[in-house]
Every structure is written in C-alpha cells, then in structure tokens.
Amino acid sequence: MYSPAMDLRTAHALIRFGMGPTGAGTPPADPSAWLLSQLQQPDSPSVGPEPNLAEGLAALREDRENKPPPGQSRSRALYQAQGLAAVGRAVSTTTPFRERLVWFWTNHFTVSLRHGRCAALAGSFVADAIRPHVTGRFQDMVLAVMRHPAMLVYLDNAQSVGPDSEGGMRSHRGLNENLARECMELHTLSPASGYTQADVTAFARILTGWSIEVNNEPQGFIFRPRIHEPGEQTLMGRTFPDGEAGGIEALTFLANHPATHRFLATRLVCHFAADTPPPGAVRHIEGILRDTKGDLGAAAAGLVSLNDTWTPGAKLRTPLDLVVASFRALDVPADPPPPYLGILSGLGQPLWTAPAPNGWSDIAADWSGPEAMMRRIDWAYAVSGRIGERDPMTIADASLGPLTRPETHDAMARAGSRREALTLLFTSPEFQRR
C-alpha cells in the first residue's frame, strides 16, 4: 500500500514552495522545472469575481450613508466574500508557487482590518497592488502599494497634510508620519540602513497629498496639491522635487536602495529556507535583486536554485499554511466553501487582520506557544470529521508522501477511527511543517 506516488524532492517542492499537495493532483515529474514554469504563467483563476477597487469604495460610501450596526456593514460583507474567495483560491490553485508569493508579498505590505475601513479595501489591495507584481519589478509593486487606498487609509497618509501647504495653513492640520516611517522601516530600507528621524519627517512631507477620493470621479488614489508640503525635500542626503513626482522619485530611490535589497533578501530567505536565514543564501538573493534592479521573478527563481531551500521541514506552518494544506489534502469541494475565516481566527491568524503593520511572523517561535498548538490539535480533530469513507493512508501518501514518518504511519494504522487517524496525520510534526 505504501508506495508514495512522489519522491522526496517533489513532495518538498509542493510543500515548501507551494501550498501543499492536493489529493487529486498529479505530482510534477520535474519539481524545479514545474516551479520555474509558474513564474512565467498567469495566476490560476480567482474563485468568484476578482475583487476590484470600485466596489470597495462603493461599500465605504454606502456604509457612511447608512451607518449600519457593527458586523452588518457592506464593507464587512465584502470582506467575508472576498476573504473566503482568497483562501479558496489558495486551496484550489494550480499555480501554488505564484500563490505563495502573493501571500508572502501581501504580508510584507500588510494592511489590516484593525483599521476599520480596510475591510472594504483589502481584497482589492491584493488583487490590484500585489498580485500583478509578484514576478515583476519591486519598485512597481511599491508604487502600486503606496498609491492603493487600503495602504493610504491603514497607515493614515490619506489624512496627512503639509503644514505649509495651502490646506495646512487654512485648516491648521499637519503631518502624520505613520506611512512614511513604516514604508522605510518595514517595506523598504529596514532600520539597519541607519536612517534618522529627520529622514522620516522629510519622507512624510514628500508623501503629503498622496490621498484617496471616495466620492467623485476618478475614484481611488488622488494627489492633492492643496495639502502637499511645498518645496524640495532632502531624504537620506538626496534632494527630491516638489509635487507628486517627488514622491515617485523617492519611492523609486528607496525601492532600489542596497539596504532594501538586503532586507528583502533576508525576508525571502527566511520564508523559503529557514527561520535563521543562512547568510550565503541572503547574499545570493540580494545579488540577484541588485543585478536585476529588483526583479522579483528572478529572485523567486533564485530561491528555487538555492540548496538552502531544499531541506525538508525547516519551517513551521503558520495557521494559514496549515489550513490551506489540510483542505488541499482533503480535496474539499469549493462549494459550499468551508468557514475559512472563522477557522483562521480560531487558530490565531485572522485573515488580513495582523495586529500591526509588520504583518504576521514568519518564524516558528511565534506560532508554537502551548495554547496555539492545542488549538491546532482541536481544529485538526474538527476538520478530520470530513474524511467520510476515504482512506487516511491515501491522504497521507498524497499530502506528505515519503515525508511521512514510520511512527506516524503506525499510529494511524492503530487509530480507532478514520477520523482519529487523520487527526494524527494533521497533528504530526511532519505535517505541521513545510
């Protein structure tokens, strides 16, 4: 019975770079070639309509007029539909490496429902600012992110006003440096680059006027000259011009800064290799980003070519990884969708609701607290109730293949029910890892 359909390298490729094997899928013959080919392909289709900005902004307008009670807003309904579809797409995708890159960059540029208005905008943020750029240029992704209403709302830039601008002098409003700081700290340079408070303030001035328009056409991003701080600004020793162009130039400068390449390489290697990123691997990816001027597809291909990314089980699955991998292993029908959002909340990783702008942690120590592991067991038992008449060993072979340990096989064989056998599979240390 136990003749796994795939070899170790194939199983690892599906788990580390993808979202976990599906029960029904045919494993690729050449895992590296399969991964690299995805970088040239379009995304597998969305589950339901692709979210768009117009419907998000319409929801914000509607809620502002109707003032619905909490939990019954149009924004909330949109989040629930789009969130279900987003997890459903991860469960069903046939380009899982691309999909993992989408989730990685979405987390890198976190927007969170901790800010209420993000509920209506997060789906569009992923669709419009992240997904089109995961194999493109980093500077294009940064620009799309910083112009997306979700980010401008989440980190308050939509309200930031140049103190010496026309609008600032009249309204006595002024700077809000939140987005400027987090963009430098979390999205591009990282504090290791040594920028100062003066740089943060200068960048905040540069970004004044980057705002959103909810009511009038054209809706979405708008540059408002009336609240833009006039004059040139000096950021990290460089001078940037007045106006919207100054912001675009500054973001292009930050996106291509050597410190940004090092930081992005560290984040990528941490996600695809190990919690403690091997320095040689980081240098390799950093070099690719430098030589290609931030080509994220080339960086992704570089990750596949590294030896450090091919050690099985080096990463603990996050709750999202675990839920997606479990449902892929189970081949759960897409309709009706499982209650993904409640599950992720229960496991401590509510969708698009990271506690802070640095997003969800990518290291095991932050996900392996005692109570967190207990919840994984409880949920594994719950989802294993879906096994029906299927053979748990077949699911083990399809979802882990040769990574299944003999003791897990033995314990499953001795289990009192199919459901308990599947619970043991899903809670085994090898399934908890990727």
Binding site: L175, N176, R181, P370, D378, L424
Partner: protein, 402 residues
Amino acid sequence: MHTLSRRAALLGLTSVVTLGRVSLALASAPTDRRFVVVILRGALDGMSAVVPYGDPDLAALRPALVPPQPGQDKGLLDLGGTFGLHPAMTRAHAMYQANELLVVHAVAGNYRVRSHFEAQDYLESGADHRMTSGWLNRAVAAMPAEAPGELNASSSAIAVGASVPLVLRGPHAVANWAPHGFAEPQEALYQQVLALNHADPITGPAIAAGMRDRGFGAQVMGSDMTDEPKGGARFAFPALASAAGAMLKAADGPRIAALELGGWDTHTAQNNRLAQPLTQLDTGLDALRTAMGDAWGKTVVLVMTEFGRTARMNGTNGTDHGTATVAFVAGGAVAGGRVVTNWPGLAPGQLFENRDLAPTTDLRSVATGLIGPHLALSPSALTTVFPGGAPVQPLRGLLRTA
C-alpha cells in the same frame, strides 16, 4: 483519576513521555509573592494617560488632546495637583487613592529609534538588542529556590493570552492559558498526538505544556469563576486579567504572569481611539485585583509600553512615535498614591529632540527596583536579567515593604 495537585500539574516542566503517559515533577511554591507584567503594545501616549495638566506648556503643544481640568465635566482625575489620570481610568484612580497605584512618569527604556517592533523586542529582551529570551523569563529562573535541591521556581510563570510574549519566553518552561473556541477531542487522542510529537523540539514541548496548562486552567476556572463572560468578551483583556488573577490567587498556582493589550498606536483622532483601550486597561487591572482576593496584598503589577508619543499633536489630532511615557505600578505591595518623576518640562528647549517628552527615568531601573526586592533577586542576579551596558541603579522605595 489523578491525585496530583494543581500546582503539580502546572509544574510539569520536567515531564517525560512514556507511551502516552505524562509524569509530572513536583515542587512547592518558592515564594508567596506575585508579580505581573502587562505589555501595552503600540506605544501608549503617557501624557494622555497621566496628563501633566499643571505644566504651563502642555496646552500649547496639544490643544485638542487635553481633557478638561479636574472637577469639570468629563475632567481629569486628579493625582495631587500637577498630574491627572485620563477620565476613563476611574478604577485606577480609586486604586491610587487607596495607595495601591504608583505612577512613574517620563520613563523610557534605552532605545531611541521609534520603531514599534524593535522597541518591543528590546523592551521584552531587557537589552539593547533582540535576545531569544525575555527578562521576565530570566528573572523567574534566577528566583531563589525554597530549599537546596528544590526544583527551581522557573515553571511558576504563566502567559495569559493566545501566545507567549517574548518577555516570558526563554529556556525556562512557562505555562500558557487562553480561552478557546474549538470542540475538544477525547483525552486519549491528545495523548496519542503528544506521543507522536514528543521527540520534536518545537511541537513536543508546546503540546505537553498546553495539555498541562489547560488542565490547570479548567480546574481553577471551574471552581473560582462563577460568572464567566460569554462570546467575544471571553477573549478581551478584562476577562484575561480576571482569569490570570484566579490562577495567581491559587495557593498552588503560578506566581508570575504576563499579559498583553494593544490598540495604543493613536496616529489619528486620539481622543476617540484612546478611551477604549484605556477603559480595557482600567477594567482589567480592577478585575485582576478582584480576582486575586487576599493575594493582591502580595502583588506587584508593572504596566509598560515600548515608548511614548510626540509631545505635540500631529496634523491629524493624533500623535506620532515618541520617546518617554508613563509606567504604572499597581498592587497591594506597592507604596502607591504617588507620581514618581523627575519631570523634564515641556518648554521647547526641554523636549527630547525638540519633539518628545524627554526620558528622565530608565524603565529598567523601575523593573529592577520592583523585582529586586519583591522576588528577592540579588544585584548579580539582576545583571543576568538585564544584561549589557552599565548596570542600571534600581529605583528605591517603590514597594511598601522592601
């Protein structure tokens, strides 16, 4: 089925797994004193929580952010003439009047770059870099054992919340409890899962500890909590604080606890946004006090945040990342009813980098001034708890009996 005491169940740090059975090591309590750390993540604006309304330069810096004077409608709760508590903190004010709440103002750690995430790492590491263990974990490890050969006190600490914060992580096993929502399988299946994971360095210890902590929590909650909150309120800070109090109160319960509360990053509309987390904090501290009963008299609670916020309000009626802030010390063992501060002033030349409340007290000297006497840690032990750099001088006189 078990004759093990609750404390024994909690003190399973040396547990060994044999064919699905967990053996537990036993130990008696090394101290009857309790110490609780509450981390406020997101940077609390200290000058809104404890408003220096007597400073003549305050109003000009933040005209829209200063509540009415004490005695007026929705006014500040006076702390003796110069400072006033935010009007949402009525229960804390009662604690202050009962000399069970101490305010330390213009306090900061040793970090000045204004990144939340680095600052929290340093705050919890107790060092000027991120460590893999937190200062509270090292403090527990350094607590003197009750008698030679006795098991160290290291396991008598608990994180109440869905995860263990860095401040309490480290080589010494700690407990972890939180309310949860999924249905639970039979005990035997947990044992099988534990057996399959026992050799794993990450999942094995976590599952063993999780089973132990849930068992302890269920016993304490079952006997001590009569009106347990329902729904989302079960996960809110007051409920967690109350649960922590129930466990800390138990004679065989933990002595050290850590909790977290977010929602402080008030870049916009600060007046509206701050009332809710301040109310949570106020209600939670009171719930902790109530749940602890007589044990409150032996308790010290340190409430700290990673840094303060700008002295001036920003352009959106909020504040940006700053430096010095406030720390609260609560508990029956505290020499409270005072604001301890070397107030730096708010005139333009007195602000740190012409922007923030200047730090005049090192947060580490507050922490060492508390845990040194309260947990009987020697000066040399304190240097392992807060390593690196010049040793900080513990603040003296924070406790009623030291």
